[in-house]
Amino acid sequence: MKRKTNLSATFALLPTWLVAVVVFIGTMAWSINLSFTNSTIFPSSTYVGFAQYAKLFSSAKWLASLQNVLIFGVLYVGGCLLLGFLLAAALDRKIRFESAFRTIFLYPYAMSFVVTGLIWQWMLNPTLGIQASVRSLGWESFVLDWVVNRDLAIYALVLAGVWQGAGLVMVIALAGMRGIEAEQWKAARIDGIPVWRIYVSIILPQLGPALAAAGMLLAMGVIKTYDIVVAMTNGGPGNATEVPAKFIMDNLFGRQNLGLATAGATVLVLGVIMIVAPFRYAMHMHSKARGAR
């Protein structure tokens, strides 16, 4: 289209420009600026350098929340990818009632993290949940007390998260598998390669980019993890399930510690960049390599 007559187009994009510049750039700059001040309840203009960051990284709660989100993130993303891939591979084997299975595996993804957290809080309830049911069957020593156990509470979050998110990976992986040419299958079967080897050595590498995109999507969710923790454990027991996003929210609105909260938020943004940048780079190299072929 010619450039001179698109005044309306420019005009139509004005609100979005406003959002991008004022909200996305403006408020972020404001927050980052606050993280270098000694602001508490109200913003202050006394700059203290990196003091808030020093305070942040000497806070046991923040360090615990970083550790927790790392454990949660690795197991949640890994768990979703593994289970999602297995489900997709199983459904790819000419299964009866495939669409019914697919519907069942994906429905949790339609539900909110709050709902997911509350469901699993109830399932794992140590006095009335699964533990009580199994014990009443006669296995008296059965223990499933994850939500109230300091060492295991984080795994309860992983369980709930994988239950909610595995279906997403399944959908993406299954779409990828359906795109693989029948010729490759024929060739591999003629060579006598067992089915599981075909999935691991031939199909998995081809699904790499799609699975990487799904993994990145899930990893972005990990950094934002908040609702599911609030609903399921509220950070407890102790600091066992504290996460950075919750630490920031608590300091913003509960403890009125603006400087510390914005320092934490800035660290989160850096975390996102650290996840996205290598992925983008890999995608870039991938498409370059393809173009050169």
Binding site: N6, W30, K94, F101, Y107, V114, L168, L217, I223, D227
Partner: protein, 294 residues
């Protein structure tokens, strides 16, 4: 190999591998459905029956009182009015937010892909970056800015916030959709003297109806399921259902009424679940389209 026909006839021979496959799938079905089953049966039991500690047993007698309590009598702290106001709040928040964000996103996608005014790629890059960044970094300045213009803790305020934070994804999906529209279509219309808005409303929007449906569903589910933004921006009178649900379940004084909690949880999940089950394939298209944004 009938690989291109996954819904074709069932293979005739039954091998150990096939049996293992179905066993795996059935175990997976149990894992995915047990929580939903448990919620439903718990919500239909009396507290006396729940105290027996048989979470998987069927209710001895169907008791719907937990549902009525959850809807109109459950307590949040000391206020006992049930979750129904949250339901209406969520509708009041979600419907205008979806309509506005889909409209603005469609216009954006159309302008960015078919008109490409100066700075289009910069704007698109900014939007995409904004979509990746955690909300926490925007929250405090947003609260202050909203308070300054009198929108903090108001229905209009929370709707505006949802529209703003929905823009990156919605714009992306529409841009990708309109990129595949032949440019000649737009050019021909312009030769006939149609302007930016006429082409949008009379040609592009009708073409994009499938995308409008997909994106609306995606946005509806996303905004309905939101917790964080509703908690911060909606204000006490407009708290969405998710926030009220969490308040009912996690700030109870005295004994927890698990049957009421589960009924309230199901009620909160009902709208997105209905969308999912009634429109399965569209929903899948939506999340597949959303997932390729990486």
């Amino acid at each position: 190999m009938a690989r291109l026909h996954p819904n074709g006839p069932k293979p005739t021979q039954i091998t150990a591998g096939r049996i293992g496959l179905y066993v795996f799938l059935l175990v997976a079905v149990l894992f995915f459905t047990l929580p939903l089953y448990t919620m439903v049966v718990t919500s239909l039991k009396t507290m006396d029956e729940i105290r027996l500690g048989q979470i998987f047993s069927l209710p001895s007698k169907l008791d719907f009182s937990a549902w009525t309590t959850a809807w109109s009598g459950a307590c949040m702290g000391t206020v006992c009015v049930g979750i129904r106001s949250g339901f209406w709040n969520s509708l009041a928040i979600t419907i205008p937010s979806v309509a506005l964000s889909v409209f603005v996103g469609a216009v954006n996608g159309y302008a960015l892909s078919l008109w490409r005014p100066r700075g289009a790629s910069v704007l698109f890059g900014l939007l995409m970056a904004g979509g990746l960044i955690p909300y926490q970094i925007f929250l405090y300045p947003m609260v202050r800015a909203m308070a300054t213009v009198g929108l903090y803790n108001s229905l209009a305020g929370i709707i505006l916030v949802h529209v703003i934070f929905g823009l990156p994804l919605v714009t992306l999906l529409f841009r990708n959709y309109f990129v595949s529209v032949p440019e000649e279509l737009c050019k021909a219309a312009r030769v006939d003297g149609a302007g930016f808005w006429r082409i949008f409303f009379e040609i592009m929007l009708p073409i994009a109806v499938p995308m409008v449906v997909v994106v609306s569903m995606l946005q509806f589910t996303g905004i309905w399921n939101d917790f964080l933004l509703g908690l911060v921006f909606a204000g006490r009178d407009n708290l969405p259902m998710t926030v009220q649900l969490n308040n009912i379940v996690n700030t109870t004084m005295g004994e927890r009424t698990y049957n009421v909690n589960m009924a309230a949880t199901i009620l909160t999940a009902l709208v997105p679940l209905a969308i999912y089950f009634l429109s399965g394939r569209w929903f899948v298209r939506g999340i597949a389209a959303g997932a390729v944004k990486g």
